[in-house]
Symmetry: C2
Subunit: 178 residues, 2 copies
């Protein structure tokens, strides 16, 4: 999986083939099938491996607004660190798993915010979706292309930050007047 990720980081998901991966590992292409069912599950496994890295970086103190922002920023850092993989992975269902650290951390923060219990999961799912959209459009260049004629990396970061603030305010509004 680590070797596959290296190749994807270098050349993109489309350029990864079982045969190239085998060559990179100095092994017969067919040997891979003793460790992985097929290419699709290999990609799903790489995606899950990378997505699980949110875990370590998650803080548990400070105001909920700050924790939420931190979670979003970590998700963004992860996406930018593995652009090629994540751009592909967002199309599939493996980026945010229901039993994964990302979702668990998000629910924990929302509970700490005082949001009514029955709102936690639906609002959490919507927030996760919205942030996925921000990251996907940053990875594929759509946001930069739309928001200005001469977009920079700093504009991407600013747009992300602005949007996350909007989401935090939205949650706050829902706590104040449920």
């Amino acid at each position: 999986l680590a070797a596959a990720l290296r190749l994807i980081d270098a050349d993109g998901v489309e350029a990864l083939s079982m045969r190239k991966l085998a060559a990179n590992l100095q092994v017969n292409p067919m040997s891979l099938y003793h460790h992985v069912a097929n290419k699709a599950t290999l990609l799903a496994d790489v995606t899950r491996m990378v997505s699980a890295r949110i875990e370590e970086t998650v803080p548990t103190n400070g105001p909920w607004q700050q924790q939420l922002r931190r979670l979003a920023d970590d998700f963004r850092a992860l996406s930018l660190a593995h652009r090629n993989l994540m751009r592909y992975a967002f199309a599939g269902p493996n980026v945010i798993q229901r039993d994964g650290p990302m979702w668990l951390a998000l629910c924990r923060v929302l509970r700490a915010s005082g949001l009514p219990e029955r709102d936690i999961e639906p609002i959490g799912a919507v927030l996760a979706s919205l942030v996925c959209g921000l990251l996907l459009t940053e990875l594929n260049g759509t946001r930069r292309r739309l928001s200005a004629l001469d977009g920079t990396e700093a504009d991407d970061a600013a747009g992300f930050s602005l949007a996350v603030q909007m989401l935090i305010d939205g949650v706050a509004a829902r706590i104040a007047a449920p």
Copy 2:
């Protein structure tokens, strides 16, 4: 392009090959290359063709909140009508074009809302990104899987509606206190 879209609707983007498309058109595979540069641009062209269908359905009267909601709903209807294509297309840069009807309509509505001119494009880009996220996670099943143990189509629609309302409120708040 229409034939390609039919095949994609039926079997998904992965199952589309130049050779199958040619067979479907009762033509030699190589003939296709006289009408399209390669497979990647064919897919981009299909995406643009479908994305342009927002055009006709866009209203120009009523309060801006209602127009914005209508735009989002139309985008959702389009995405659901061509799930296989759109799931793939969201990964690329061709869904929302800067000179396309979607973006032009969005900017028109935001101008009508009274949002300061210099906020139109950055806020528009962020809103477009967020809605892309909602649709993508609906198409790949992530939102349904996260928000409840027994999600239905109606839950998807409700989550979408709730999120769009949050976005409209966010814009309204920015108009009231800039």
